[in-house]
């Protein structure tokens, strides 16, 4: 027969259990408070860290702004030109650029880098520089109305009829603002022609009759044949290279190699 606990022992045991439960509850409460403090802390730190990252990410950002860049006159003024070719026709090296007027990289290149290239290589007589339209960015068929890549290229050739190819080429890139959004609709192109001081009647007739549609499509076909896979690309004395993240430094090196008669690094 087991000995029965005294009522005092039962009460002591009950008090002990209550004390333990109380301590556990205090510990849990303390842990909970600690958790709440930690959560508040990490949420604050996370939000502050993201705000700092966003601010730093926007600091001194080149937003692709194409304002305050050299004007067409300062780039092409005084440079020998014949149609879509700039520079000495007898220069030992020919650099042909394939580009689409809707392509943002082409605009970036034309407005920011091309002036340097002209200063370094065209004005010095080392190369002649040829522009070839390579319309690739419109989802519409090449021969359809509304293909803005083709229309812009045709318009540049219509401007060439009035001896203003390079000025209009420059103007088109400054107008670029999104792809296939109507920036290069025929109506807008005619407005740009007026802005450039071209004879609007003959320009409009040239554009609306599709005078240079075949020339533009032939230029594109030639690019495809030469292995051009994107714009801007450059054919340097027969070797096609694409523009890379190494930018003008790489292109300069490639052109210099052609001038020096060396193989052109890809």
């Amino acid at each position: 027969m087991s000995a029965r606990k005294s009522p005092n022992a039962d009460r002591r045991e009950a008090r002990r259990q209550a004390r333990v439960a109380q301590e556990q509850k205090q510990l849990q409460n303390a842990r909970r408070r600690r958790l709440i403090t930690m959560i508040s802390g990490v949420v604050a730190v996370a939000v502050i860290a993201v705000v700092i990252l966003v601010i730093v990410n926007n600091l001194g950002k080149d937003d692709g702004s194409l304002e305050n860049l050299p004007a067409a006159e300062s780039i092409y003024g005084g440079v020998q030109s014949q149609g879509l070719t700039l520079g000495d026709p007898n220069a030992p090296v020919t650099v042909t650029e394939y580009a689409d007027y809707q392509c943002p990289y082409c605009a970036n290149f034309a407005l920011k880098t091309e002036p340097k290239l002209i200063d370094d290589f065209v004005k010095t007589g080392k190369i002649k520089y040829v522009f070839r339209p390579m319309p690739i960015l419109s989802p519409l068929p090449l021969d359809s109305d509304g293909n803005e890549s083709v229309q812009a290229a045709e318009a540049s050739m219509c401007a060439n009829d009035q001896g203003k190819f390079w000025e209009f080429h420059h103007l088109l890139y400054t107008k670029q603002n999104g792809e296939n959004v109507g920036i290069f609709s025929n109506a807008n192109l005619i407005n740009y022609a007026a802005e450039e001081g071209l004879d609007v009647t003959s320009f409009t007739s040239c554009l609306n009759t599709g005078k240079y549609q075949k020339a533009v499509l032939d230029s594109r076909a030639q690019g495809v044949k030469d292995g051009v896979s994107g714009t801007p690309s450059f054919d340097i004395n027969g070797t096609v290279v694409t523009y890379t993240t190494q930018g003008y430094d790489k292109l300069k090196q490639q052109i210099q190699a052609a001038i020096d008669g060396e193989s052109i690094p890809k």
Partner: protein
């Protein structure tokens, strides 16, 4: 979802995140063409927004996922780290989710181009945040001690 499944899902997503981040760091340093292909411009990777103070964003992603892996291991190796690791994971994934939300905004409305690896990264990060929030909630509930009936 059981705790084990939740932990395994978090580990799987973390490892996947590390793999995607490693790949994004790798392609950032490749000499890529700065061109538009037919109907497409590879704008995102070469965007000026792809770097913060000269450091490729992909590095931030990789460091974040390595920290998450460290916390995942630490939580299991050192039981005393449970609270810290759970809250830390929640904080890191919260920051990650807020930042990828900002980057997605940039892709859609500023750069106007979507990069599929960035989207993959954003989805993994958001899922990890949701899992870490669930784990934190469970931990919080576990610390609740019901009042004894009077």
């Amino acid at each position: 979802m059981s705790s084990t499944r939740l932990a395994l899902a978090s580990l799987g997503l973390t490892v996947l995140g590390i793999a995607v981040a490693v790949y994004m760091v790798y392609i950032h340093y490749q000499e890529s063409a700065l061109i538009c292909g037919v109907g497409d411009c590879a704008k995102v990777q070469t965007s000026t927004y792809a770097e913060v103070a000269g450091i490729p964003i992909a590095w931030f992603g990789l460091i974040m996922y390595l920290a998450l892996l460290g916390l995942w291991i630490g939580k299991r190796a050192i039981p005393a780290m449970t609270d810290l690791a759970t809250v830390g994971t929640f904080g890191i994934t919260l920051a990650g989710t807020l930042y990828v939300a900002y980057l997605t905004y940039l892709e859609i409305w500023v750069i106007e181009a979507i990069c599929q690896w960035c989207v993959t990264f954003a989805i993994i990060t958001t899922l990890l945040f949701l899992l870490s929030a669930l784990q934190l909630w469970r931990l919080f509930i576990a610390t609740s001690v019901p009042d004894e009936p009077s």
